[in-house]
Symmetry: C2
Subunit: 226 residues, 2 copies
């Protein structure tokens, strides 16, 4: 990608581009780098690193909590066109928590390193404002996840998860092991297996090797809205 | 409180006061009202109302989630000198969740109504930035609460709760029923009773009518840090 292409991508993916001075644009375009991640790659590992602001060109990012015992809870996902701000959390003093971030699919991105982003935030009130605004959106995502986890019965949670997977891929087969579903729903493998068997008995899904096939979309939808 | 006193209080409690124009200060001082709440009063009830920005002069506010089944989970508390922003959540489009807010003690506050605050946010980038920055601080609070609830063993959670209550009141007796402790720790009454009995057997606390007396602070501290 040459400099001009990078500027073009930045103007498309970085919403405060218009609010930058010419000098700031030059600086950001000079510092920003293309980055590729393979599916499953760790992008951000708790407090250990601070990659910077990630502008997603293609692919999906998953942000999750990880307990000392290895339990994972998915907080939210980001897709092409969105920015990952918690990979630059070291820049924001108000953030006192650590998350883990992984490439959920192969990922293509532009990264503005933490130092450049920190300077920009310092100099430009619109950048600072946009940063906090982004964090507020993520706050909403996390509250949604929290309500799911705390309050919702697991059958409904699982139905919503399966429905969302189907809706986002368009594929009636969800290519995941029970272990993976458990990981993503913040549950235990046994609980997932038990509930999936119940769903299968109800004719909602069919369990197959390495995946789950949705048989009755209407029933699944009803379950997810019950 | 006369106008001058109100302006003085606003300059002390509203951190962006210095960034307002003279006209905006006039407007805010004209619109802001004193408000008093009694301990236990509901300040904000999910999506039903949108009181505005609450600047706490004295007392404590508790912000919590409430499930359809009546289960409560405390997200965070605010004290004198802090601002309650989620009582103005209708003003911020990025917020897609509802919380409940109550006066945890008798409360004295200055309230800037939602309309006035919304206009100010619209006109003044510093007010908007401060609003999102506040929300980021609350995001951190919520993440802390979430990690407590999701990952921590209940004995530790209960010990931390009792320790925090003791630390904030300075009173060795925590005047709460098991029901109330369960409410505040997002747990069930039975679980609280069982764990408190265990703590009592360990000599950490003594259970009394309408309260819990802390007997061994060092042990409680250890439990909360285990």
């Amino acid at each position: 990608m040459n400099k001009q292409e990078k500027q073009q991508e930045l103007s498309r993916l970085f919403p405060v581009w218009e609010q930058l001075t010419e000098a700031q644009r030059e600086r950001v375009a000079g510092a920003a780098v293309e980055a590729s991640y393979k599916k499953g790659d760790t992008i951000h590992n708790g407090s250990l690193d601070c990659v910077g602001l990630i502008l997603i060109r293609s692919g999906k990012v998953r942000v999750y909590l990880l307990s000392d015992e290895g339990k994972e809870v998915t907080l939210y996902r980001l897709k092409a066109g969105e920015m990952c701000i918690l990979s630059a959390s070291c820049v924001v003093t108000g953030i006192t928590f650590d998350v883990h971030i992984e490439a959920e699919t192969d990922l293509d991105a532009i990264v503005i390193d933490s130092k450049t982003y920190a300077d920009l935030r310092e100099e430009n009130i619109y950048v600072r404002c946009n940063c906090y605004e982004l964090l507020t959106d993520r706050f909403s995502d996390v509250m949604w996840a929290m309500q799911q986890i705390l309050f919702m019965s697991f059958d409904r949670r699982l139905a919503i998860f399966l429905w969302d997977e189907y809706a986002s891929s368009g594929d009636e087969v969800i290519h995941m092991t029970h272990e993976q579903v458990a990981k993503y729903t913040g549950s235990a493998r046994e609980v997932v297996t038990r509930m999936l068997k119940y769903f299968a008995e109800e004719g909602v899904v069919e369990l197959m090797r390495g995946g789950i096939r949705i048989l009755d979309k209407q029933k699944l939808r009803n379950l997810s809205q019950s």
